[in-house]
């Protein structure tokens, strides 16, 4: 079973040299790893749990676990994916301790285009330049919409559309099949789209 470890690993992982140095004993350099990932991880935590304090706790627990288990990391995936896997399990553990909104299923039927919304053209908000659209208010609305997503769907959307992970990577991080990721992502997006439709129909007062 003597596997040629070196040929298998380091799938272009930019973190590999740093991790090897840390694992070889240069533990001071762990802070470089922290430096690299604290910002994206904090953001991820914030998108998932909504509170800065919770997000920070999650970041701390995650890095402590990474510190404990870095020696067991085998470069079988990108370090970043492994990191987010740990972050997710920290989130799940924390969630069990608190009372969260009840889980519910998002059904495709709820989002099917009905006859009543048939318009010859897409609405203005689908055509306006993005940077003109995405102001502070809309940003907040989208954040709220993401937080309103049931737990089953939120991490999928956050990882795919906000953190930029691929379907495969998201599947790996969340222990799902790629097919499952796609189904959940689609419903999550449709859910957000509904909130945006509402927002643009009622709340967005100023004309395009």
């Amino acid at each position: 079973m003597a596997q040629p470890q070196d040929s298998k690993r380091r799938i272009n992982d930019k973190d590999a040299p740093l991790i090897e140095a840390i694992n070889a004993g240069d533990t001071d350099r762990f802070y470089e790893l922290v430096q690299r990932y604290q910002q994206p991880l904090f953001n991820f935590g914030l998108r998932i749990c909504g509170q800065a304090a919770d997000a920070e706790d999650m970041v701390q627990d995650t890095f402590l676990n990474v510190f404990r288990y870095l020696k067991t990391f085998r470069f079988e995936s990108q370090f970043k994916n492994w990191l987010y896997r740990i972050a997710m399990s920290v989130c799940i553990k924390r969630r069990r301790r608190s009372k969260y909104a009840p889980e519910r299923e998002l059904s495709l039927e709820d989002f099917l285009p009905g006859d009543e919304q048939v318009a010859a053209e897409a609405p203005a908000w689908a055509r306006e330049p993005l940077d003109r659209l995405l102001d502070e208010e809309l940003t907040r609305r989208i954040e709220d919409a993401i937080l309103a997503l049931p737990e089953t769907y939120r991490p999928v959307l956050v990882l795919r559309d906000l953190e930029g992970f691929s379907t495969e990577e998201t599947a790996q991080i969340l222990n799902l099949t790629p097919g499952n990721v796609k189904v959940r992502l689609h419903r999550a997006r449709l859910f957000i789209r509904e909130q945006l439709k509402e927002y643009f129909a009622h709340d967005r007062s100023r004309p395009a």
Partner: protein
């Protein structure tokens, strides 16, 4: 746009298209499926509008600005890590397995 509806217009077909719109936007479908969807979109106003707003929803999510990390988070993080490191160091004895 009524009259001789092409078969794409039946609701079951719409539903089928609709369930794959995200994969279509993410370019995760093969060419045949892609072309099927594009043909459907040309004929179906409802699905076309839906596709446009869905694409825009995705673009908006992708364009979300990141939040700044709290100023003192790094300090607290370092404290916690140092505590762990101190606990990990089993005195200055060299480990000789």
């Amino acid at each position: 746009m009524t009259g001789a509806d092409p078969p794409e217009h039946d609701p079951a077909h719409c539903r089928e298209m609709f369930s794959h719109l995200s994969e279509y936007l993410d370019r995760e479908l093969d060419e045949i499926a892609c072309r099927q969807i594009e043909r459907h979109l040309r004929h179906c106003d409802a699905c076309r509008a839906c596709c446009a707003t869905l694409a825009r929803t995705v673009a908006l999510c992708q364009g979300m600005p990141p939040h700044a990390v709290p100023g003192d988070m790094a300090v607290r993080l370092r404290e916690a890590i140092e505590k762990l490191r101190a606990g990990d160091r089993p005195a200055p004895a060299p480990h000789s397995d």
